[in-house]
Amino acid sequence: MAIEPANLHEKEPHMGQHVEIERIQKMLNQFQHNLPLSSTPYADMARQLGMPEQQLLTLLEELKSSQVISRIGAVFKPNRIGVSTLAAMAVPQHRLIDIANIISAYPAVNHNYEREHHFNLWFVVTAENKQQLNRTLKDMEQKTGIVILSLPMEKDYHIDLGFPLQLIDGGTKNNKGEH
């Protein structure tokens, strides 16, 4: 299964859709890494992609507002400029949405997912330092009445979420590894 047109466009699907998705795929794969560090990064990107700067800015704006792009910018290495932990809670099913909303409301939380397990709520908590992190975790436990399992990273073997994307219909299963 590939991309749902509705995710990229508010409009009805049309003939130019494939071309559009191909263009977006090219842009994303080229610039998930190596954003130009020049005075005019978007103009540089636009030149490489063969479109005017303004068109690229509009496209990025659209992809941001439709939430396909979360942001354009820096991904920091964990635990270098601050501290973080992966936290888990075992939440009774009937309280899950309420508890999840309480947790999401903390600015210190960036990811918050339900997962298939006895520990069914998983979230990442960040802070500037350990004391602040512990305060936040304690506060969460008090507010929810649920014990937190805190699993900070001890060693990083690999992290890169910028893997090559394959967005064209039917592509993933058959074309993997061709690009």
Binding site: S39, P41, G73, R80, T126, I159
Partner: protein, 164 residues
């Protein structure tokens, strides 16, 4: 001198979508465009910034299956297997984390993104075969609802205002 805390606080929200985004950030933090660019380059060289680029939401792009696979691996083997799992393109993250006995016996965490469950499970099988871990206990935690996803906020804006 550039204030790194202010720069990180500005960067964690993403670059503005204007012709001169680094100049715009410089304006926000009382610095110059060149200082901002140089400092980001330094942070990249030092490894504090892992990558500069477009950050996507995979779910919105059709990568709806995401599993956290957790393994209970003997301490002396965990480095070797953490690296082995990390080689695969579809493994976006491979971390060692502490056990929490008796509730939580797992010490190695991998994230696998895929377009559906079978995609993820096939890839998992490939990892198991390639890294020879048929005998090791693991658990697959597929994600269900996403309640929140955004970039990390290490420095909250309130504390910036207080220190300014």
């Amino acid at each position: 001198m550039i204030n790194q805390r202010l720069l990180i606080a500005a960067l964690q929200n993403g670059l503005p979508l204007v012709s001169h985004p680094y100049a715009e950030i410089a304006r926000q933090i009382n610095s110059t465009e060149q200082e901002v660019i140089d400092h980001i380059a330094t942070m990249q060289q030092q490894g504090d910034i892992k990558r500069m680029g477009i950050v996507v939401r995979h779910r919105k792009l059709g990568y709806t299956a995401n599993a956290m696979v957790v393994w209970d691996i003997a301490d002396e083997q965990v480095d070797e297997l953490g690296a082995c799992f990390g080689q695969f393109d579809f493994v976006t993250l491979s971390y060692r984390r502490p056990r929490h006995l008796p509730d939580w016996p797992y010490n190695l965490f991998c994230m696998i993104h895929g377009q559906d469950r079978d995609d993820v499970l096939n890839n998992l099988q490939l990892m198991i075969n390639s890294c020879n871990v048929e005998h090791i206990k693991y658990s697959v935690l597929f994600s269900k609802r996403c309640f929140k996803q955004r970039g990390a906020i290490y420095i909250n804006e309130k504390s910036i205002k207080e220190s300014a």
